[in-house]
């Protein structure tokens, strides 16, 4: 089931999963530039693409930014695929420590 989220940084709204089952990774658009200054990323820029280490293992998402709010289920703090990712990373870290 897909859920609709609002990014608290750029106020963009999106579904966390596409109809084909692929997760959707939201990335805040850059701030518009003008003649005085170029385009730049927001300070609280959110990027949900996965971050990989040197061995191509997923270690998190690139930037949490200002967070998100779920518009369709208030119990969800973030897209479920991201929560599952973090749980798996924590488990792998525990296994490595053990």
């Amino acid at each position: 089931m897909t859920h609709r989220f609002r990014c608290l940084a750029c106020k963009g709204e999106y579904f966390d999963q596409q109809l084909d089952g692929a997760p959707y990774a939201h990335v805040c658009p850059p701030l518009r530039g003008d003649k005085k200054k170029p385009e730049q990323l927001r300070d609280d820029h959110r990027d949900e693409n996965v971050k990989l280490d040197g061995r191509r293992r997923t270690i998190g998402i690139r930037s949490e930014g200002a967070g998100v709010k779920c518009l369709s289920d208030e119990k969800l703090a973030e897209p479920r695929w991201i929560s599952a990712l973090k749980m798996r990373i924590a488990k792998e870290d525990d296994d490595d420590d053990a």
Partner: protein, 289 residues
């Protein structure tokens, strides 16, 4: 319909069971792939869906005793698009055949798989042979020794329809190619509703690598205050003015987009209360495991 036999003999009736005994002593190997106890099977799998679709790997191995055994592994990756390799020990013997199937109905070409023979322990393994590689899906089974191997890029990709982010008021559309994917944009459509602030908005679609813009396509029409328009860009589309509230333009053909590259709008004189709709776009996607 019952089979007919021109010779008048039904071969199955004359040979109901195994009547051939294999001579495994001093015999020529049936295949060139002999597996020792130091060898392992590596199953590399990458999937764009979440939860990921798994694969089933079937192998037939001729043991030194002359017995043929069937092994089956069910593997499901836990990462999205990024390739994961699972290692399994193998018995000593001759590898006769291998096949990779997806037992679940999935989006064609959303799962890429490679079967690899490794030698050595996991951390120091050496890849010795790629048995088969490609996108298994439904009845499209990967197989060895008879099968066609493809890498993840040199084949038809997965056609995906995506609904992107509805930007906030006064913000541009920006869609980023995800990690582990290569895209080919086929078409994109979105709408712009202009506020009452007097200004001439000039929308354009731009493609960049995260830093440098390398292609721009301008809308054939501008948008004035308190008006709205649908904008459709696709390969091979003729430039069209505002007909029934929609304007068209063509986008570059064969423009492959790498991870973290972007498809976005850049609108001249965009006002704070102007609102873009969510972009709807179709891409051909290949996995980069």
């Amino acid at each position: 319909m019952a089979p007919t036999f021109p010779s008048g003999e039904d071969a199955l009736k004359r040979s109901p069971g195994a009547e051939v005994t294999l001579d495994v002593q001093h015999s020529a190997p049936p295949t060139a792939t002999y597996i020792t106890k130091d060898d392992q099977l590596g199953i590399m799998i990458a999937c764009s869906s979440q939860p990921a679709f798994g694969v089933q790997v079937n192998m037939r191995i001729l043991l030194p005793s002359g017995k043929i055994v069937q092994s089956v592994w069910n593997v499901q990756p836990i990462q999205t698009r990024t390739g994961q390799t699972f290692f399994y020990p193998l018995p000593e013997g001759f590898l006769l055949s291998a096949a990779v199937t997806t037992p679940f109905v999935n989006q064609p070409r959303s799962t890429f798989c490679e079967l690899i023979l490794y030698r050595g322990a996991n951390l120091n393994n050496l890849q010795n042979q790629i048995l088969c590689s490609g996108y298994p899906a439904g009845y499209q089974v990967l197989s060895w020794p008879l099968g066609v191997n493809t890498n993840s890029l040199d084949t038809v990709g997965n056609i995906r329809s995506i609904v992107g982010t509805t930007p906030g008021a006064g913000a541009e559309i920006s869609e980023t190619v995800p990690v582990g994917a290569q895209w080919f944009l086929l078409a994109i459509e979105f709408g712009l509703t202009a506020s009452a602030t007097v200004a001439t908005r000039v929308p354009q679609v731009i493609f960049d690598d995260g830093t440098n813009i390398f292609a721009q396509v301008v809308s054939p029409v501008n948008v004035t205050a308190s008006s709205s328009i649908g904008l459709a860009f696709a390969i091979g589309l003729n430039t069209g003015s505002n007909v029934l509230g929609v304007a068209n333009n063509s986008i570059p053909n064969n423009l492959k987009l790498m991870p973290s590259w972007r498809i976005r709008t850049n609108t001249g004189s965009l006002q704070a209360a102007d609102q873009y709709s969510s972009p709807k776009y179709v891409v051909e996607e290949w996995l980069l495991p």
